[in-house]
């Protein structure tokens, strides 16, 4: 009898520890939040380019996370990407002329939606659309722009150097 009780106790502790570990891995390591998906209100914004933005990415104002990206879809009526944002209920005083932009955290970090406050007296409410948006910066475009402008700078300089030779 004593033996079985020890075994049951040991098994119980082991199973508890195992599930605690699984729970820890799911809740502490991933960015998934449970039970918070229903609260708050929803905003939409359309972007030319969302880059590597993914559902679940944070929406932040001055670095404070105020919500999450809920879904990303392509809108064929505007030919732009349509992003649905879920904002937590306590952040209900966002001016309705605020702007949204897709930004990157650090050089290699993940992308998020940054909201910059406007100066309107009225606030966003559920289902509103953010009018002013700025797209994600695509690194290739940036590099090609830089290279072309570099090349354009170089050409007249080369010409001047050759011209002064004779």
């Amino acid at each position: 009898m004593r033996q079985t009780r020890a075994i049951e106790l040991g098994t119980g502790l082991f199973v508890l520890l195992g599930f605690a570990a699984l729970f820890f891995l799911v809740t502490q390591i991933t960015n998934r939040e449970f039970g918070l998906g229903e609260g708050g209100y929803r905003l939409t914004a359309t972007f030319e380019q969302v880059g590597g933005l993914k559902p679940g990415a944070p929406v932040s104002m001055s670095g404070v996370t105020i919500g999450r990206v809920e879904s990303i879809a392509y809108d064929f009526s505007e030919y732009r990407a349509r992003v649905e944002l879920r904002i937590e209920p306590q952040y209900d005083k966002i001016p309705d002329d605020s702007d949204a932009s897709v930004l990157t955290a650090g050089l290699l970090g993940g992308q998020y939606v940054g909201v910059g406050p406007g100066s309107s007296e009225t606030f966003f409410k559920d289902g509103d659309r953010i009018q002013f948006t700025q797209s994600a910066i695509v690194l290739e475009n940036l590099i090609s722009k830089f290279l072309f402008s570099k090349a354009a700078e170089q050409q007249p300089a080369d010409g001047a150097a050759q011209g002064s030779k004779p």
């Binding site: 502790l13 570990a21 650090g106 050089l107 290699l108």
Partner: protein, 257 residues
Amino acid sequence: MVAAIFRELGDSVQEALRALGRYALFAARVAGETPRSLLRFRLVVEQVYNAGALSLVIIMLSGLFVGMVLGLQGFDLLQRFGSEESLGTAAALGLLKELGPVITALLFAGRAGTALASELGLMRATDQIAAMEMMAVDPVRRVVMPRFLGGVIAMPLLAAIFSMIGLYGAQLVGVKLMGVDQGQFWSQMRAAVEFEDVMEGALKSFAFGAACSLVAVYEGYHSVPTAEGVGRATTRTVVISSVSVLLLDYILTAVML
């Protein structure tokens, strides 16, 4: 002469195929018995204790050291690219998706698999299994199934514990020893690791647990009833489990990635 060689070759191919067929039939039998055996909960609990709780110390110790090595190696590698803040992400993904399930399965085969195989082999050698058959007790139901299910239940939990302890070890080395910022370590990890990554690891460890347990009970149950036969069954358990875990790992990774 040539005909004899071909006959030999044919025989060994046939024997290999038959072994595979025996494994498949046994697996089908075990799978068929599973729902009924889950109801005999007390027997399964005892085996969860044997396979899981008794393997806990070795799993935790190994997890700690694997995590610490991962912290050192990961830091050294990431430092070359100037992104040592990603250490948390690298350690978490490495542990969750590969090292956790695979190393736990290898340790599990060595610690619990051998115990299972030799126990069943000794039962066979000392005619306990024959005695059960005499009493019209189905030894597969009474002896094999609880051991198999105990292993299947214990393995994912062990792998989760391994990953958690490993992550702690990586954090210990990365943050305390190498000076990676603690906030960066956790926040980068949290931003990059998805729920699906955790599930992938859990699914893998479940598959490995089933494979290891199946090999152990098969080899033990079908061992030659001599001292030498039991020893051979134990060895085969480790070899076949390890190889099949690594093979399964490649297949599962290729499918899920």
